[in-house]
């Protein structure tokens, strides 16, 4: 693919994934500060933050005419712009790239909307395989609602999947939509080797686990020998994961006969 050549780079690509309202941005921000305090240069990025397409997506989402396919492709444009112009240069320069959501959220949203899963995966085929994917997992959509309300944010049209006509109101739709999203994420956990973190605990204990796990990714020794982290070790498929520079396209080729 243009722009994304297979190559070795010295940085690390760390992904924070999870459904809406699980605390991804809180943990990304905490992790960034912590990493910088330890002397790592950090680039953080996330969906719709591209210079190219970020504004256009936000504008399109305020209207009522954004179709399903159009939405997926707009997000893919945003992602590839950030991949080529932000993430890759930072990785080459030895940065730790922290990304709040990656292709997995995009794939999950597409699949929940009935989009062909081979199609969406092929579009994102040029993405890099991350060094680690931390999935902040919460068990049920009801728990997400509690968090949403206590944070004062309330229900959002797209986070509630209102475009899918799943329920009479935002609450019903949110529950159904997020339940489906959680299912897709659970399925992807094994497929892509997510490190699962139980996100229903306090911010402090999730952050502590995250730091320990990140330290391992960066080959640093932790501050404490006691390691009661509830990180499920991912399936380590040697051929497909964490080879810096390998692309997901390779991963797909290996997974698909």
């Amino acid at each position: 693919m243009p722009g994304v050549e297979q190559e070795q780079y010295s940085g690390k690509l760390i992904v924070i994934e999870g459904t809406d309202g699980v605390g991804r941005s809180t943990h990304t921000a905490l992790l960034r500060t912590w990493l910088e305090s330890r002397g790592h240069a950090v680039l953080d990025t996330g969906m719709t933050r591209s210079i190219l397409a970020g504004r256009g997506i936000k504008e399109a989402k305020t209207g009522h005419t954004l179709g399903r396919l159009t939405m997926q492709l707009f997000y893919a444009t945003d992602f590839i712009d950030r991949l080529e112009n932000e993430m890759l240069p930072a990785l080459r320069a030895g940065f730790v790239v922290l990304t709040d959501r990656y292709i997995y959220s995009a794939i999950a949203r597409a699949e929940v909307r009935g989009i062909d899963s081979a199609w969406i995966r092929s579009i994102y085929g040029m993405a890099l395989v991350p060094d680690a994917i931390f999935y902040l997992r919460i068990g049920t959509a009801q728990q997400l609602v509690e968090r949403l309300l206590s944070s004062g944010r309330g229900f959002d049209y797209w986070e509630s999947g209102m475009d899918l006509y799943l329920g009479e109101d935002f609450y019903d739709s949110f529950i159904e939509y997020q339940t489906r999203m959680l299912k897709v994420f659970d399925r992807m956990t094994g497929e892509y080797g997510f490190h699962v973190l139980n996100a229903s605990r306090s911010v402090r204990s999730v952050a502590a686990d995250l730091r320990k796990a990140v330290m391992r990714v960066l080959d640093e020794t932790g501050p404490s020998a006691e390691d009661n982290v509830s990180v499920i070790q991912p399936r380590r498929d040697k051929a497909a994961t964490t080879k810096a520079g390998a692309t997901l396209l390779d991963l797909n080729k290996k997974a698909l006969p």
């Binding site: 693919m1 243009p2 994304v4 397409a53 179709g67 396919l69 893919a76 080529e84 085929g125």
Partner: protein, 226 residues
């Protein structure tokens, strides 16, 4: 999601393709007038026309923000919006949809820019397969002369200056158009494009188009008022 070739609609989709300056837009406009005069419900859709994507594309072209991959994806976004808004609904309603440039434009341009041929085809696999696709084939020098003499200066992406073949816009444009033409030629058999010799007179080309489209038209679909 229904893939290319799998859609079933009562309407008909005719598309015109070809390099810049091949005269395809003129031909499509004449076809549109004729079909309207004949009383058919006709809907016109052109490349790069999505209101959702327009501002993003305009800004990116002005500020040179595109890479070949994002150029391809943003145009695919535009095309998806066209498909969901302007192409599928009229086809379902039984109308004739005329498209000025279609997925083959992306296949030709993006591959000429260096995108992977299979990847680009995968990205556009949601597209409706046209009833007939006309490729207006003009010799390279004719097309280039028409464009270069017709406007004050070539635009950055239009000339393929982003790829870095040459710093000279005219030279870059010539290389780019040559590669595009090669891709079109390759697609003739791959997608069954109907080749129209664009070096002949406008009238002759239009007669040929009308003759080729005739058999697909359903005379009963014409409006009663005519």
């Amino acid at each position: 999601m229904i893939s290319y070739g799998q859609h079933q609609f009562p309407g008909k989709l005719f598309v015109v393709e070809g390099t810049d300056g091949s005269g395809k837009s003129t031909q499509l406009a004449l076809l549109y007038q004729w079909l309207k005069a004949e009383g058919y419900p006709v809907f016109f859709s052109e490349w790069n026309s999505s209101p959702l994507v327009k501002d993003t594309t305009k800004r990116a072209k002005k500020r040179h923000l595109f890479t070949p991959a994002t150029f391809s994806l943003l145009h695919a976004t535009d095309f998806a919006d066209r498909t969901e808004r302007d192409i599928i609904p009229p086809l379902k309603a039984g109308a004739i949809v005329l498209a000025d440039r279609y997925i083959y434009t992306a296949f030709a341009r993006d591959v000429a820019r260096g995108c992977d041929r299979h990847w680009v085809r995968d990205v556009y696999s949601f597209a409706v397969k046209p009833t007939a696709a006309f490729f207006f084939r003009a010799p390279l020098n004719v097309a280039i002369d028409r464009i270069v003499s017709g406007r004050p200066s070539l635009k950055y992406y239009e000339a393929g200056l982003d790829v870095g073949w040459s710093d000279d816009p005219e030279e870059s444009f010539t290389i780019f158009q040559g590669k595009i033409l090669e891709e079109y030629d390759r697609m003739v058999s791959e997608f069954g494009l109907t080749v129209i010799d664009a070096s002949r007179s406008i009238e002759r080309q239009q007669r040929e188009m009308r003759m080729l489209i005739g058999p697909y038209l359903n005379r009963k679909k014409r409006a009663r008022s005519n």
